[in-house]
């Protein structure tokens, strides 16, 4: 199955096939993602969304095909530290406080911690009063925010997010999503993120890539451009055209609507 999101490809996948434990997860995927876009990956559990994200990040090997990010291999992007991954769990350094975590990130980024920048990130994410807290002492939401703060410390050009707010309640998730999008816009960051929530995808993405369920046929991916649809500002009041799209997605692709 082939899909493409044209125009100034920043992330490019060419005929990528992924195997995991002898099982073909994705077959012959070709995809171009343009600079600064926000792409949501939707699909049922186990369809390969996270694997695709990990492959783009260079954390998993492909069987065939190749991936380039800004015409470079993903691992080359580690060196320029232009890529960041937000995992489902925050994966914080348990021995470092909020302040130390961000300072270490700056250090790993070969930059001296800029106090003003540090303060701005902490303020933006509501962590300014918790700088001396260890991750264990933070709430789940705060840990997610710290993971975001760490990600934006390195000012990534490509941010891959694998349901980083899945463990949060809908209200907190929405608030955090807004903060997350603001930071993405501020840094002009290309974002590819996995979600199970169709409304969330329609609300924050420029394009949705849907992974079809592959019980009898090979799993494939299909793209939906949201440019022609109304913008969702309030998830409680979804415009009619978006509701129709949501229903279509649910009917055709067996997406778990959470």
């Amino acid at each position: 199955m082939v899909t493409s999101v044209k125009s100034g490809a920043f992330v490019s996948l060419k005929n990528v096939t992924i195997n995991k434990g002898g099982i073909e997860i994705l077959h012959d995927v070709t995809m171009d993602i343009s600079v600064g876009s926000s792409i949501a990956l939707l699909g049922p559990s186990g369809c390969g969304k996270t694997t695709l994200l990990r492959v783009i990040a260079g954390l998993e090997k492909v069987v065939s095909g190749f991936i380039t990010i800004d015409n470079e291999k993903p691992c080359e992007l580690y060196k320029s530290q232009a890529l960041m991954f937000l995992f489902q769990e925050p994966r914080l350094w348990k021995h470092l406080t909020v302040n130390e975590t961000l300072r270490l990130t700056f250090k790993l980024h070969k930059r001296t911690a800029n106090e003003a920048e540090l303060k701005k990130i902490l303020d933006q994410l509501g962590l300014a009063d918790f700088t001396e807290y260890y991750p264990d002492a933070l709430s789940v939401g705060m840990r997610a925010r710290l993971a975001i703060a760490r990600a934006f410390c390195i000012r990534p050009r490509l941010l891959l997010a694998d349901e980083p707010f899945a463990a949060l309640d809908p209200v907190r998730r929405l608030r955090l999503n807004h903060q997350f999008r603001d930071l993405c816009k501020q840094d002009e960051c290309t974002t590819i993120w996995v979600t199970h929530d169709i409304v969330e995808a329609m609300q924050f993405a420029d394009k949705i890539i849907v992974f079809t369920d592959g019980e009898s046929v090979r799993p494939g991916i299909i793209e939906f451009d949201l440019a022609g649809y109304s913008k969702i500002t309030d998830p409680a009041a979804i415009p009619l055209d978006c509701l129709e799209l949501r229903k279509s997605l649910l009917d055709r692709f067996f997406i778990n609507d959470t």
Binding site: L59, L83, F87, R91, W93, H95, L108, D136
Partner: protein, 246 residues
Amino acid sequence: MLVVLNIIIITWQFSGERSINVKLFVSTPIIIFDYVLDNYPLVENSFIRTGTEALVGIIVSASISILLTLVFFLWPKLLTIVYPWIVVSQVVPFVVLAPLTIVIFGEESIAGKISLSTIITFFPIMGNLVTALKNIPHEELEVMTILDANKLNILRHTIIPNSLTYFYSGLKIAAPISVIGAVLAEFSGADIGIGKDIFTAGNKLEADKQITGIINSMLLASIIYFLVVLVESRHGKWYRGVKNND
């Protein structure tokens, strides 16, 4: 704990006064107390010497284990080559090594006893550190990969914090056996030490001296164990470890 200890002491004293056999083989608390008062310099010297041997032994074996773990971290393939040999080396009976150290280092040398204490405590610490190395969460390593962290940073911020619990578990097992190592080494020949006292007293049926040695060994093991717990507790609020169980 103190209540149990008091019951044991009272029962022991009572039994020793009633039975000549008990008095002959395990003496009584009052006789032992008198023995310690009368021979305090000897008891103190033995305690310090064996304590030094055990403590230095455990420090040396911890240092070697840490160094080897670092080597395994930098060159993981070495782990599969070297570690089976470390496991196999544990089959060598400890009592065979004791006379060998006397031959190598001399009867009065402290080095022989330290080396035996090192050998006996090495595997619990090394084994735990290898388990730690094998169980480093790959999720955390992935974060470091994406952040392009160098080996030093991975070591400092991923390997060490995740290995500490295992390391201290190993040290806590090693703490009492470091004393066993030193005492057993002294059995084979020593000018001074708890092991020598127990060994010579056993041959002469000096129950008070022998039991004093055993009590001192227990005390020493407890002190070294407590020192490990004390060091472990210095790791700050983030460290949960297993100290809550101690």
